[in-house]
């Protein structure tokens, strides 16, 4: 293509000067050259289909220009997902390799449009907005590699987020046609709405060999623990509505149900709950008589009252998230965003990212048949815990539910943690909101140990040049029985420390030592130190020091008791 442009720019300048009889000759020659060039170009493109396609994706910006791939009717179909797959059986760990950064590399297949033999596309939507966001987030992250040979994980660009828009068999064939498919090894598929009517399977029905599945709505029977990743169902409202974070605290309603497609049985039970508890329970449904133009997905009604959705979620302490036809519900995301504590009633549901998130701290999970009792159960939760959960719910949304990017990168991080478990993110990193991360104290020495006396301690004495006081200190300290070692740090670069003697502390005698100068009496010294404290506090952002009113003394300190029987006699009389 570029060739023809170059050629054109040269040609017209030359041709007019030529004689007519040569023109034919020239045209013939040029066309030969042109043909040759086209052939070369084709040769360039043909054998390296992957690289060239990547090249294509850079040049074009419309989905419709993606190369078309026609699936032969008899092209192979992968096997159904193997339920016994685990990382150590179905995942090829060799391709992830050992690297000092402990980070997996993810490759994304270039976009292609798949059609069957009759030219019908395999998916009614093609690439969806959400999947596009997900893939571009991955390609922007440091997980991404464009070198397929270095990749540990491969993500097809075939969008399987919603099984309903897919033709299952053809999608499977398309997967099997991927150049590196290799029975699905190390391939990761993202799916949020699995199954189809009437019985709604809880995992993607597309046969996928050994591929890992990041799925929304797994049940305990389809989820392969430690292999699949349970992800949330993304709610498009996350991007549309900006709900400002509301501080945790009591809300107008206690329990709110805002799902529109509840089964009759559930709705009946909720209505009974409403009758019993009146105002505290708010039961919303979709609006039947909305004026034209209003977005029905953004309104909910109770009888004739109309409420804005999802804003109304912020008005309740607890929000019911009941299973529908599927286990995973997009409303979970809305509820978390509103900082409402989700009450999840979906038996056997594997909660999103449950491998790393501690849902106990952000939700209440109740068996479905306890639905009539939820009021009493929820009333039993201390209000401080409710506030804690409200905060935690919002934080989970902020960190892991907010966007397709968050969902995608969290999924990759979870897989990364499995491959490099010794470098995995900790429970605290996953679960503590920034507030807690700042205020909590996790001591590096957390085991309650009372160390034995035997190894003793090392004394470190810092000194500048006051040799007398140094000697005095050394003399005193060396009397302590538990002293194992004494280290003197000589801070004066202009003067060398006293020779030889400092080797053995016990030799020191210092009869002429005088009292140490009263440094602390010096006013400027105090002012300086106050300034230091202020400076440090401003750098820390808070004052980390704590004030206590106690002091540790030996048990019998200054008690009316014979001194010679005390472990530390005369301790108060220095």
């Amino acid at each position: 293509m570029c060739a023809s442009v170059k050629y054109g720019s040269r040609g017209p300048a030359l041709i007019p000067r030529m004689k007519t009889k040569h023109r034919v000759y020239y045209i013939a020659l040029f066309s030969v050259v042109l043909l040759g060039l086209i052939a070369t170009g084709a040769f360039q493109f043909w054998p390296h289909s992957i690289e060239s396609a990547a090249e294509w994706s850079v040049d074009r910006r419309s989905v419709h220009d993606a190369p078309l791939v026609r699936l032969p009717a008899n092209s192979p179909i992968p096997e159904r997902g193997d339920l016994s797959c685990r990382m150590h059986t179905c995942f090829n760990v060799y391709s992830c390799g050992y690297n000092p950064k402990n980070r997996i590399k993810v490759y994304i297949y270039p976009l292609q449009r798949y059609v069957d033999e009759l030219g019908t596309p395999i998916s009614s939507t093609g690439l969806s907005r959400e999947y596009n966001e997900l893939l571009s987030a991955i390609s922007d992250s440091d997980f991404y590699t464009d070198d397929v040979s270095r990749a540990c994980l491969l993500v097809p660009s075939i969008d399987v987020l919603n099984q309903n828009s897919l033709r299952v068999r053809e999608t499977a064939q398309a997967l099997a046609m991927l150049p590196r498919w290799d029975r699905g090894t190390n391939h990761l598929l993202f799916n949020m709405l699995p199954g189809g009517p009437p019985d709604y399977n809880t995992a993607l029905d597309v046969p996928r060999d050994k591929a890992l599945l990041a799925g929304g709505g797994f049940s305990t029977w389809t989820y392969r623990q430690g292999y699949d990743v349970s992800i949330p169902v993304y709610s498009p409202l996350s991007a549309e509505v900006d709900l400002p974070e509301r501080p945790p605290g009591p809300r107008r309603y206690f329990i709110l149900s805002s799902q529109t497609a509840l089964h009759r049985e559930y709705r009946g039970e909720l209505e009974r709950l409403k009758e019993e508890n009146g105002e505290a329970v708010l039961l919303l449904d979709k609006c039947s008589n909305l004026s034209q133009g209003a977005v029905s997905s953004r309104k909910r009604c109770y009888k004739s009252q109309v409420f804005d959705y999802p804003q109304i979620l912020q008005e309740s302490s607890f929000c019911v998230v009941l299973r529908g036809a599927r286990l995973g519900q997009a409303i979970l995301s809305d509820v978390l965003q509103a900082g409402c504590v989700p009450v999840i009633l979906a038996d056997s549901y594997i909660l999103p990212f449950s491998e790393v998130l501690d849902w106990k701290r952000a939700s209440v999970v109740i068996p479905e048949d306890k639905l009539p009792e939820i009021y009493t159960i929820l009333k039993g939760i201390p209000h401080r815990q409710v506030e804690e959960m409200q905060r935690q719910a919002r934080w989970f949304w902020d960190a892991y539910f907010r966007s397709m990017k968050a969902i995608g990168l969290t999924t990759l991080q979870i897989i990364n943690d499995r491959i490099y478990p010794y470098a995995a993110r900790s429970y605290e990193q996953w679960n503590n909101p920034p507030v807690v991360q700042w205020s909590s104290v996790n001591s590096p020495l957390f085991l309650p140990l009372i160390p034995p006396r035997s190894p003793g301690f090392t004394a470190v004495v810092l000194t500048y040049d006051r040799v007398e006081s140094l000697f005095r200190v050394i003399t005193e300290i060396s009397k302590v029985p538990s002293l194992a070692k004494l280290l003197v740090v000589w801070n004066n670069q202009n003067k060398s420390p006293p020779e030889g003697e400092s080797r053995s502390s016990s030799k020191f005698k210092c009869p002429e030592c005088t009292a140490i100068d009263g440094l602390s009496l010096d006013q400027t010294h105090m002012v300086e130190r106050s300034e230091c404290i202020n400076k440090f506090a401003s750098v820390f952002g808070t004052m980390p020091l704590k004030v206590v009113e106690h002091r540790a003394d030996p048990v019998l300190y200054k008690d009316d008791f014979p001194e010679k029987l005390k472990s530390f006699p005369n301790i108060g009389s220095l």
Binding site: K6, R61, T125, T220, Y266
Partner: protein, 743 residues
């Protein structure tokens, strides 16, 4: 002709030039397109270079994956409803429980929750039949259940049932193997297809393939099994338990071997292993390859071929060399002097080595693909072990060397915590198993991961008390919250004490003055009637009087601490500020000590003034109200009954409990010197203290308690906390707590 030649030359030159451009253009797309881009490209933004942005930004509007109307759940639901295909949720649950059975059992489908909801979480153990022999380990398991608070002797009350038949060893070649278990189990009248049964198993399958089959149909029963593989493990239903030996103690158990933290945390060896090498059969690959990594310096991986009778037959070229090297090192020496310990799979997935390494504070490096680690449902093993991959054996040394020393320090401490919390005795293993199941049954009051994985562990943190972590004394630091700044004073008035009500009222006034006091509860246990209304002092805090009751319900108060009974201390406020710094410990005044009486071979109790102490009397102490709950709900009825009958030792038991939880001594604060005199001064009180029986009883109590705990939990301390300027030579006016020094 010449012209033609020239033209030809020119042409070919031009052609090759164009060709070069073209090739160059393909190879360097960035340059070529930026030159020609002005004409060819659209009006869009400047394109990023290829390397930066491999996934294109599409300009065309893309559809959402789930259009709100057409395809949401609502539509699906309606559609289904129309066709009448959508079954009711209740029906769906019933279908689940008939479909998902045996290998696919889950709590929802195979467990009957109704019995548990009626009677709470009670466990019934089948009586042992006369002819049946059971192994020592199984006897320990059963007695641990029988000694626990979950035990019931009435099968009608039971939520969970445990067989009296020994199912631990299902290796047909083993002498412990119970024959015809199938028939025996089916014959049990309560078996009911295995529903709500829990079966313990340590060994299953036999040479050569060691399958995980138990040799009898377990039906709907849950398995608590060692060495279970992820493929056979039913998540949320089975429990993976550790493999433990016959010698594993029933209760108590040894403490972890870490005495103090060393910094930097490196030990003599980096990684060690010493064990058998299987020349053939399952599990041999990994151990056979260990010699590749062995370097005889800091990575010492030793194997021996000697096992079984006919090892000589299979022996390979390396056997003699390996055997010689093997004998050079002592296993225990290596175990305690290595930072990491390799735990490769044996014939079965789990091995004894795992617990040994854990106890020895040697961070286990797991090489056992597919092993569902013990209690993996609740324990986050990444914080205490390095989980390796058998396929990547050769990377193991560089992996463990790459682990930062801070992380090693944390891993090592966590091994000790986990060992002491869940593994050190059969009782702990059994209780942990039961607690895990209880958490599943009562899902909304279950422990969070934080409670399981941080000190003091899931067995001591009972979610039934509160689901809010800040209500426990253990998690303040982790959550970044402070203990509640108020306390409830509980004053216990006992019969002989009150000859006149004066001292009680005096105490009441004194306590009510404290800024931190939220309310006062008086337990009136006297023969005398309550003092007349007008005689009660006016207090700013509510006073609640409960007559004729011995115990305070632990749910009574919203406050942090308790302050019980006793002589009028002038420094309640001081003690309370100290307690706020140590909310998980008992902070009190009079202290006592325990000692080992080697002549009598038993524990002794002393109230002499010594240089250390291990208990403070709870008659005048501040402790977190959670301990009250724990006292009532954690301790077995036998100990509580004993205390009630004696009307003595309650405080000792509380000290035992708190020290067992915290592994730390209580805290003594300054008390007024003439404590003893005050005690003696109260005539009625004196009689109790002077009684020699009283003292002997306390001695007996201590030994009883120690035997129930399986070890002596009390810890000595030499420290007393005094106010900062206590007895310093400064003006009394500068001191905040002046009363303490004043006699």
């Amino acid at each position: 002709m010449q012209a033609k030649k020239r033209y030809l030359a020119l042409l070919s030159a031009a052609a090759s030039l164009v060709l070069l451009f073209c090739l160059g253009g393909v190879q360097v797309p960035a340059t070529s397109s930026s030159r020609g881009g002005g004409g060819g490209g659209g009006p869009g933004r400047r394109r990023h270079p290829a390397a930066e942005r491999p996934w294109p930004r599409f300009s065309d509007p893309l559809p959402s994956f789930a259009p709100p109307e057409s395809h949401s759940d609502a539509a699906a639901e309606e559609e289904a409803e129309e066709r009448g295909a959508h079954s009711s949720p209740r029906l769906k649950r019933d279908v689940n429980s008939s479909v998902y059975r045996a290998r696919r059992c889950r709590m929802e489908s195979c467990f009957d929750f109704s019995a548990c909801e009626r009677n709470g979480f009670k466990v019934y153990v089948y009586p042992q039949q006369k002819g049946d022999k059971i192994s020592e380990s199984y006897a320990n398991i059963l007695s641990a259940i029988e000694g626990s608070r979950f035990y019931t002797s009435d099968p009608g009350q039971a939520c969970l049932l445990v067989l009296g038949l020994d199912t631990l060893d299902r290796d047909q070649l083993s002498p412990q193997y119970v024959h015809n278990l199938k028939g025996k189990v089916q014959g049990q009248p309560l078996w009911n297809g295995g529903r709500n049964h829990l079966i313990f198993n340590l060994y299953s399958g036999t040479w050569p393939d060691y399958t995980e089959d138990l040799g009898f149909d377990i039906g709907l029963a849950m398995l608590a099994k060692a060495s279970v593989g992820a493929e056979n493990f039913r998540p949320g239903f089975d429990v993976s338990i550790p493999l433990f030996s016959k010698e594993h103690p029933r209760a108590g158990g040894e403490r972890g071997s870490l005495r103090s933290n060393t910094i930097p945390p490196f030990r003599k060896y980096v990684l060690v292993f010493k064990g058998k090498r299987y020349l053939t059969g399952i599990g041999s690959d990994t151990r056979n390859a260990l010699y590749h990594v062995h370097n005889a310096e800091d990575v010492v991986l030793l194997t021996t071929c000697k096992h079984g009778k006919d090892w000589q037959k299979h022996k390979d070229a390396r056997c003699d060399r390996d055997n010689a090297e093997y004998d050079k090192y002592d296993y225990r020496e290596m175990l305690h002097n290595s930072t990491f310990c390799l735990v490769p799979r044996g014939r079965r997935l789990g091995s004894f080595r795992f617990l040994e390494a854990l106890q020895a504070a040697c961070v286990p490096v797991m090489l056992s693909n597919g092993w569902e680690l013990p209690f993996s449902e609740v324990i986050n093993w990444n914080t205490a072990a390095v989980i390796g991959d058998e396929r990547l054996l050769l990377q193991i040394p560089s992996t463990v060397r790459s682990i930062h020393q801070d992380k090693i320090l944390a891993l090592r401490q966590q091994t000790q915590f986990l060992w002491e919390a869940y593994f050190s005795s059969v009782e702990k293993i059994v209780l942990t198993t039961l607690e895990i199941i209880q958490d599943r049954v009562f899902q909304h009051t279950s422990r969070s991961s934080l409670m399981w994985n941080s000190h003091p562990g899931g067995l001591f943190a009972m979610p039934q008390y509160s689901v809010y972590l800040g209500d426990f004394p253990f998690y303040y630091a982790q959550l970044g919250v402070k203990p509640y700044p108020k306390f409830t004073a509980v004053i216990h008035a006992v019969t002989p004490l009150v000859s006149q009500s004066q001292p009680i009222l005096k105490l009441l006034t004194a306590v009510a003055k404290s800024h931190h006091c939220a309310q006062i509860i008086i337990l009136w246990n006297c023969d005398k009637p309550l003092p007349a209304k007008h005689r009660w002092p006016a207090t700013s805090v509510p006073v609640i009087v409960i007559e004729g009751e011995n115990k305070v319900s632990s749910h009574c108060c919203e406050t942090g601490g308790f302050f019980l009974e006793s002589p009028v201390p002038r420094s309640v406020d001081f003690a309370f500020t100290v307690w706020q710094s140590f909310p998980e410990r008992i902070v009190g005044y009079p202290a006592r000590s325990h000692f080992w009486d080697s002549n009598k071979e038993r524990w002794g109790y002393t109230s002499k003034w010594t240089n250390d102490y291990s208990m403070v009397l709870t008659g005048a102490a501040i402790y977190h109200r959670y301990y009250h709950y724990l006292y009532t709900n954690y301790l077995p009825a036998s100990l509580k009954n004993m205390v009630d009958q004696l009307a003595n030792c309650e405080d000792i038991l509380m000290n035992f409990l708190v020290s067992a939880v915290t592994k730390l001594p209580p805290i003594k604060v300054t008390q007024k010197k003439q404590y003893k005199e005050t005690m003696m001064g109260q005539s009625s009180r004196a009689s109790r203290w002077a009684d020699p029986d009283h003292f002997a009883q306390r001695q007996t109590c201590m030994n009883k308690f120690a035997s129930w705990f399986g070890t002596m939990p009390l810890v000595h301390s030499q420290m007393r906390l005094d106010p900062v300027l206590f007895k310093d030579q400064v003006s009394i006016l500068r001191k905040k707590y002046r009363d303490i020094e004043r006699l």
